[in-house]
Amino acid sequence: MIDQAPAIVLLAPFLTAVLVVLVGMKYERACFPLVLLGLSFSVAAAVQTILQVVEAGTLRYYMGGWPPPFGIEFRIDGLNALVALTVSTVALISAVYSKNRVPEENGDKISIYYTLLLLVVTGLLGMVLTGDAFNLYVLLEVSALTSYALIAMGTRRATVAAFKYAIIGTIGASFYLLGVGYLYIKTGSLNMFDIHEVLVAEDLHRSTTVLVAFILITVGVWIKMAFFPLHAWLPNSYTFAPTTTSCLLGPLVTKVMVYVMIRMMLTVFDPVYTFVQLNWGDIVVWMAVIAILVGSLSALAQTDLRRMLAFLIVAEVGYMVGGVWLANTAGLVGAIYHLIADVFMTLCVFLFAGIVFAKTGKREITATHGLFAKMPLTMAGLAVGALSLIGIPPTAGFFSKWYLIQGGMASGHWGYVVALLISSLAMAVLFFRIFEYALFGVKPAEGHGDHHAGDQGKFSEASASILLPLMGTASLVLLIGIFNQSIVSIITDFLVQFNLADPMFR
Amino acid sequence: MEAQGPEGEIVSQLWIFDLILLIFLVLTAVISLKVRDLLSAAMIFGVYSFLICLLWTGMAAVDVAFTEAAVGAGVSAVFLISTVLRTSRRSSD
């Protein structure tokens, strides 16, 4: 069964999703253990896959036994394997978190909720693993449809956001599909690697159609990943969705789309094409700079905790897009490493927001007042995530920022470097504001703070199923930071084939 | 002419039919978006789907045409109509 691992990564959550519907009709309590089981299988298979990739290089799995380009293949290299493991791990963690929260937030639809949760994970994993451009679209839609539903299950503002997301998301996905069509009309192939071969072999890189295909795919993916100025759908969606939803979607969706962008830029189109021939690096990096600044400064202006975090996602997407378009090894290593690190950092802070909401029933940042005394473990978890977002060693965020800044300096994009530093500061301000509330309680200016804290201050740490995911994520953030070398070595092994050290990439 | 198969022949001679279809396609699309009565809009959207289905038959994509006939002209329109009847029939634009 070991050589089936790549398929199991995906099939485990997928089949569980179907089973959950069936079992959930009769035994609602059995849903949660099933979900855990399915996702654990997925994580185990992902670990197995990554071990195989590290050991033996690229792994190929032909769906239906048809070799590409006739059939659909999974071609798993270091990048896929890493992202897949990340996705399945995060899914597992947020599933654990959802145990107590789903009955509270969507009590009448527990099995439906879990099914959607597993399906969105299936879609994301499928996007990560597949080597077929069209198949990616199908799985993109699987994850998109589930996201709409998961978000729409929140408050009534979430429904509005979900509709907006559905419209914008469909535009993005359709652009992507159109781009694939434009590639198909020129190459006649759908397999990503085969498309690349044809593009190179027939020197199609000069064709207008390929250029338009590139623009369409890039813009489509940017819409889906909420890259400024295409981010309008994101903040409200993640703010008003059920907390379990935002813990799952917030960290994953945008990052997986960043993965898709990297895959498209490097594997389908050639780095020589995307970076040298088009030479849009400057423009895109400047757009990323604006994204970073707008994201982090808008985050400063928010009073709603999750909305603030949502804007941070916008900034983080700017980091990654900018990092990729720096077009050098350090930048790409930084972007990919940040992709992985950021998934866990974001999960960490979203879990915290979820806990705060669960405990206080409030969405505002001020809801954190006095939490240091009441929930020290929770605050410790947040502290790790926050330090990582700010970029304090030895958390993961520091190392990604290190590589990104290194890349920015190496390619002379000083604006990007400055933007990174400013956004670090903005995040520092943001999180220390939270720490202050947590440390001091209500604003001292209001005077009667102590009574206030005393009134509703009877709660303590959340239950284990809510707290454990946070602790787990926090320790993962630390571990990813500490063992950054092994992750980075996988990434650099992946990047070697593109020969980015070539002087033409600056 | 004889060298081509019968089906191929049909395709190549239907260009004028194609042209009319395409024009009507655009017309129905615009009308379904312009009509203020949503029920009519949904109906006209059904017509649109049906036209596009004919177009595809003309382009030898029978499977797709079949599916579009069932899904686009049939089920999609029914979904739209049921939503319109469940919500509001008037549109401000």
Partner: protein
């Protein structure tokens, strides 16, 4: 000439021991005696570990240990040399005394959250010693940031509005400077040198970067280590005086601020290299910046009525002495500045202890309210007097020696302007310290603002401050250990 480096884990342990002590401190939170006992034990162990390395260092060797390579060519590594040793010794020995003092102060004032206080205190010390023994710029930065964060809860200990705004200023200055200035310089140097940020006696930048780059980097790093309080990035220090006095004493007279200047010293000597700096003639720029800070801060100190704030501005000035001495780039200047780290630490901590003791015993913060206090708290005020002697640089206290060396340094290089600056500022120092002691002891009896019932502070505090005062005087008689270390360090750094 130099004996080979010794590989030993002692420096790591020396740094970590106080970090490990946090666990028992938290666990023993409810039993205050045991908790503070743990602090004591940790302090003594720490001091012992550092002292145990002294003979090796005195013999001219170094002790190294690489903890782990975190990014290729970039490791968390420790190395003990003479310069680090001076700082390590000072910080760890003062921790013991400060712990003693804190017991008196915290219990005397019945402060809340003492467990938190003692645990973060221990963490801060771990970071401080980590900075002292860092083998490369990266490790240095790591511990520097750790110190910034660990001291935040200490600064805001009172958790009131004032503490909150003070804490805000504190972190804003320190983090902004280090993230905006130090981190990019670090990465830039990393790119330019292709890794390996290890401190080397002659510096490693020479020949790798041009003059303009060197100037920009120098300024970025000088201001980036904002803990050194060089103007205009000094405002955090007075703001941080909202902290409880033991914190102000140890951290803001010794650990934190000295970490700042220590970092600057390290960067000048280990990254740029004295020779490289003097070749490019960059020292002059820094001396002028430092001189400006020295004079202006002394003038501001004159106008402060709050005792702790006056001490804070005094500290800002004294820190710039050290930077100035280093920037002279002469052997005597460098020696002087290194000695001043130690001498000023003992002197200033005495002053802070006294300020705290006064506050604890009488609740007074303002100098104008301290008329006649000497009669009620003679021990405290005597210690205060000794401390001010040391800081001003008058014989009978250790500060004299370091100041002499600094002056000698200016003369050696012919920088008479700097000589003038140092002398003027000494006068100003005297002008803002002596009146306090004078009015405390020699005011007319009817002017005294104190009732007879006012007594000395908590015994622990008094013992602590007497101890530091005695040591300050002792250093005048026997400055040998610090002198030898500073001299060795200077010889090593100047490649003499």
């Amino acid at each position: 000439m130099t004996p080979p480096a010794i590989i030993s884990i002692t420096p790591v342990l020396a740094s970590l021991v106080s970090l490990l002590a946090v666990i028992p401190i938290i666990l023993l939170g409810r039993r205050s005696n045991l908790r503070e006992g743990t602090s004591f034990v940790a302090g003594i162990v720490k001091f012992g570990l550092i002292a145990s390395m002294l003979p090796t260092i005195m013999a001219g060797s170094t002790i190294e240990y690489t903890l782990w390579e975190i990014i290729p060519n970039l490791a968390i590594a420790f190395r003990v040399d003479a310069l680090g040793m001076i700082f390590g010794l000072v910080a760890s020995s003062l921790w013991i005394i400060t712990t003693l003092y804190s017991i008196g102060y915290m219990r005397g004032l019945k402060e809340h959250a003492q467990t938190r206080f003692f645990s973060y205190f221990a963490v801060s010390l771990a970071a401080t010693v980590g900075v002292a023994f860092a083998a490369n710029l990266f490790t240095l930065f790591l511990f520097y940031e750790m110190l910034s964060l660990a001291t935040y809860p200490l600064v805001t200990h009172h958790q009131d509005k004032e503490a909150r705004s003070g804490g805000r200023t504190y972190l804003t200055y320190l983090l902004t400077a280090s993230i905006l200035f130090v981190l990019p310089s670090l990465i830039y140097i990393f790119i330019k040198t292709g890794g390996g940020l290890d401190f080397v006696a002659g510096g490693f930048l020479e020949g790798r970067i041009g003059g303009t780059e060197a100037l920009v980097l120098l300024l970025l790093l000088t201001f980036g280590f904002a803990k050194a309080g060089i103007m205009p990035l000094h405002s955090w220090l007075p703001a941080a005086m909202v902290a409880p006095t033991p914190v102000s004493a140890l951290l803001h007279a010794v650990a934190v601020v000295k970490v700042g200047v220590f970092c600057i010293l390290r960067v000048y000597s280990g990254v740029f290299g004295i020779e490289f700096l003097s070749d490019l003639n960059l020292g002059v720029i820094v001396t002028w910046i430092a001189a400006f800070t020295v004079v202006v801060s002394s003038l501001i100190a004159l106008t402060q009525d709050n005792l702790k704030r006056r001490l804070a501005f005094s500290t800002i000035g004294q820190l710039s002495y050290i930077v100035l001495g280093m920037a002279l780039l002469t052997p005597k200047g460098v020696t002087g500045s290194m000695m001043h780290i130690a001498m000023h630490a003992w002197g200033k901590i005495t002053l802070f202890f006294c300020a705290g003791a006064i506050f604890q015993a009488t609740g007074k913060k303002y100098i104008s309210e301290m008329v006649g206090i000497g009669k009620r708290m003679p021990v405290t005020m005597a210690a205060f007097f000794i401390g001010s002697l040391s800081v001003i640089g008058i014989p009978l206290a250790g500060g004299f020696w370091s100041k002499i060396y600094l002056l000698w340094g200016t003369v050696e290089d012919g920088q008479y302007a700097m000589l003038a600056v140092l002398l003027i500022s000494s006068l100003l120092n005297a002008a803002y310290f002596f009146p306090i002691a004078f009015r405390a002891f020699f005011c007319k009896p009817e002017d005294s603002l104190f009732e007879a019932k006012v007594e000395e502070a908590h015994p622990c505090a008094v013992v602590a401050l007497s101890l530091t005062a005695v040591v300050t005087m002792f250093l005048f008689i026997y400055p040998e250990p610090f002198f030898a270390l500073a001299d060795a360090a200077a010889q090593h750094l100047m490649n003499l």
